[in-house]
């Protein structure tokens, strides 16, 4: 039975278990539901869970364990001279055996016999069945392939029996457990709780996994390049090694990239913070409910635009516009029509990134300003303060810690933003203060170091992981600090 069919059977048993379980609970209740500890649906769910859960666990374990067992058994049957070859060669062989086994399953009995008599026809024969082989199979492979396909078939049959049995046994015993005072509701909710815990731990474990994988690669990098050269180096010049030479490792100074990241982030925040904050104040304090219901979703549409689209916008519209504008301005003032703003510049990238960040600032700040208790507003208005005095002197001070937290979270987005800077900031890694010149960021360099056909073990590639983990660390610190501030602010009212 195929896996999907098996799952279907398990599901059918589960549904049947649900129906039988609730029917039995109803029968036990004898017309008075208060005789039961739980509502009949819970008894049904209890049976369904115990029918499906163990069966699915068995299925998953089998799917993982069975190929490992089969593979080791088949390999143990390899001739001695094959076992003596390298692991990689054995793997190749085993892959080919797998292909042959797949093809064999499609052959008729006569074709199989013919195949075993004359192994040299294998390639052409299997090709007619749509299974291409890379080379003529070695003689031992046919036998191994035969073993493999036999064991796979046995495994599949055994699995089907085991799973259906597990479902049936689970359903049977849970059905037997149904009694009027049986606490089905508590049991079912217990299982649900476990499910919820599993879901949240997946998110956390994934983060841990990502950090671990980045850290391992970064450690490889730091084995080649000293950490202090990376963190305090002021020159970014990862010269790509010429073919054959081994010594040209280049310089991997983080400082120019970090400077560019922070500079562009600063420009972005200069754009996003005032605009976003003012928008939030308007939305939360002045806008009528009608205006708010239209304008707020519109503003939040900005947050839904993919950042690569902002990148286009920067590349095609904002960059050339700023370049032409500077050309005209320069011409009007000095008579020399040359542009002083580059099309790719800190200003372009920062400005467009700022626009991208506006909805984050406004939406987060809006929530925080709205959370200031109404009593504060009433108290101030009741003393004869105007709306704007109330906002300036009462609401903003009360909301300030929360807003600062929101801004820090926004800043961590700015630091991690990639697509806009890839298209609009330029690739020149340098330390300078002119916002009209291109600079580059950590994220841009991660992209450029990883997209290429360099071998994966060279420092030029591995540096991407060191950059990544640095970036991760920066945004993590910003977020933790932001959360700390927001939490502190919450304590003020309750």
């Amino acid at each position: 039975m195929s896996i999907s069919l098996l799952l279907l059977v398990v599901a059918v048993i589960g549904v049947a278990g649900y129906m039988v379980g609730s029917w039995r609970a109803n029968a036990l209740a004898g017309g008075r539901l208060s005789n039961l500890h739980s509502r009949p649906g819970y008894y049904g769910s209890f049976v369904a869970i115990w029918a499906m859960l163990p069966a699915i666990v068995v299925l998953l374990v089998w799917i993982v364990a069975s190929p490992i067992y089969i593979s080791s058994t088949v390999r143990a049957g390899f001739p001695e001279e094959v076992k003596a070859t390298s692991q990689a060669e054995q793997n190749l062989g085993y892959n080919m055996i797998g292909a042959i086994a797949r093809g064999m399953a499609m052959l008729s009995a006569e074709e199989r016999e013919a195949l075993f008599k004359d192994g040299t026809t294998a390639r052409s024969l299997l090709a007619t069945k749509g299974v291409p082989l890379a080379a003529d199979p070695a003689p031992y492979m046919l036998k191994s392939a035969d073993d493999l396909s036999r064991m796979s078939r046995a495994s599949s049959t055994f699995l089907s029996i085991l799973v259906v049995l597990a479902a049936a046994v689970g359903a049977f015993f849970s059905y037997r457990a149904i009694a009027p005072r049986f606490r089905a509701r508590n049991r079912v909710e217990g299982v649900m709780l476990v499910g919820l815990i599993a879901a949240s731990s997946i998110a956390i474990l994934t983060t841990v996994g990502i950090v671990a994988s980045m850290a391992t690669e970064a450690i490889h990098f730091f084995n080649r390049v000293p950490a202090w050269e990376f963190f305090f180096g002021t020159v970014w010049d990862p010269r790509f090694a010429a073919a054959g030479s081994t010594d040209s490792s280049g310089q991997f100074g983080l400082i120019p990239l970090l400077a560019g990241t922070l500079y562009i982030g600063l420009v972005a925040m200069l754009v996003a913070v005032p605009v976003g904050l003012f928008a939030a104040i308007y939305m939360s304090e002045y806008a009528s409910r009608h205006v708010r219901s239209v304008a707020k979703p519109l503003l939040e549409v900005l947050a839904g635009i993919p950042t690569i689209v902002y990148g286009f916008f920067a590349l095609v519209t904002v960059g050339p516009f700023l370049r032409d504008l500077s050309e005209q301005l320069n011409g009007l003032v000095t008579g020399d029509y040359s542009n002083f703003i580059q099309a790719q510049s800190v200003l372009t990238a920062g400005f467009v990134m700022g626009i991208m960040l506006i909805p984050y600032v406004s939406s987060l700040s809006d929530d925080i300003i709205t959370a200031v208790p109404r009593a504060m507003r009433d108290g101030s208005l009741g003393l004869g303060a105007t709306r704007s005095e109330t906002i300036k002197r009462v609401i903003l001070p009360a909301a300030l810690p929360g807003i600062v937290g929101a801004l820090l979270m926004t800043a961590s987005r700015a630091v991690g933003e990639t697509m806009i800077v890839v298209l609009a900031a330029g690739v020149a890694a340098r330390i300078q203060l002119n916002p009209f010149e291109p600079m580059t960021t950590v994220t841009v360099k991660i992209v450029s170091q990883l997209t290429g056909d360099l071998e994966f073990t060279s420092p030029q590639t591995l540096v991407a992981f060191a950059l990544g983990i640095t970036l991760f660390f920066i945004t993590l610190c910003l977020n933790i600090y932001a959360l700390y501030i927001v939490r502190k602010y919450r304590e003020q009212y309750e």
Binding site: S288, G382, G384
Partner: protein
């Protein structure tokens, strides 16, 4: 009384009538929240230097009426007021009236103590500061001290004026809010169930304070407590289902009300 001639009685009554001066006059006041009508043509006058208590079951419109007196209803979306309310001679719903100025003349204390998350000093100085009542720091210090004194809080907080107002106890916070309202030197102070969040001892202090404030201010107070209305007020107005049922001297109201519904409410038969 029997000893006096009829003429003398007339004269005494006339004198009494003449003594009454109305601080605020509400005529045919109706309030709508969207399509829902909350007040029906209420005619209620507020006497100068008098504590007027508004009583009635929940949802009867007493708080709504209170809030019309300094136009706090303006902050509620969809709220509409008809009729005429005057403060001295000014129609407070006249478009020429500055609502900010009105609220400086008619202050408000809320149900739940709502000190700003600032220091005690700054809480009291907030109103005078936005209205420019003090030029020098010394003037402001004087206003803060006298306001806290009027609110009976000075002795408790004089050593910690720079500490947060939210750190005070509930009763102290409410008296701080009264001091904050007093600091603007309003003519009328509106109180919306000012003791409902306080324990009996704090309540007693605030009630005592209301008594003393009467000398300088006109006070309108909404309360759910009959005893409180009887203790602190001279005039009482009873609301029911958005109508003003009866308005009378407090003593008369609690001993011999004119309206059966007032009697029933005070005796605890409904509400």
């Amino acid at each position: 009384m029997n000893m006096m001639s009829e003429a003398a009685v007339e004269k005494a009554l006339d004198k009494k009538m003449n003594d009454i001066s109305y601080k605020m006059i509400g005529k045919d006041v109706s309030v709508y929240y969207g399509d829902k009508r909350a007040l029906y043509d209420v005619n209620l006058n507020v006497r100068q230097n008098t504590v007027t208590a508004l009583i009635g079951p929940s949802g009867c419109g007493k708080s709504t009426f209170l809030r019309t007196l300094n136009r706090m209803n303006d902050t509620i979306e969809g709220c509409r007021v008809t009729g005429r309310i005057t403060l001295d001679t000014d129609d407070i719903y006249d478009p020429n009236i500055d609502v900010v100025e009105l609220r400086a003349r008619v202050g408000m204390v809320f149900q739940k103590p709502n000190p700003f998350p600032k220091s005690i000093y700054e809480n009291v100085a907030y109103g005078p500061r936005i209205h420019g009542l003090a030029k020098a720091k010394a003037d402001m210090d004087a206003i803060v001290e006298s306001s806290l004194q009027k609110a009976g809080l000075w002795n408790e907080v004089k050593d910690r004026l720079l500490e947060g107002g939210t750190g005070l106890s509930g009763g102290q916070q409410q008296r701080l809010c009264i001091a904050r309202a007093v600091a603007v030197s309003p003519e009328v102070i509106l109180m919306d169930e000012p003791c409902s969040a306080l324990d009996p001892i704090a309540t007693a202090k605030v009630e005592e304070l209301i008594h003393e404030l009467r000398a300088n201010f006109t006070i309108v107070i909404v309360t759910h407590s009959m005893q409180q209305a009887a203790r602190v007020s001279q005039r009482t107005a009873m609301f029911h289902l958005g109508n003003l049922v009866e308005e009378n001297d407090t003593d008369k109201m609690f001993t011999n009300p004119d309206d059966q519904r007032t009697q029933d409410y005070i005796m605890g038969r409904f509400g």
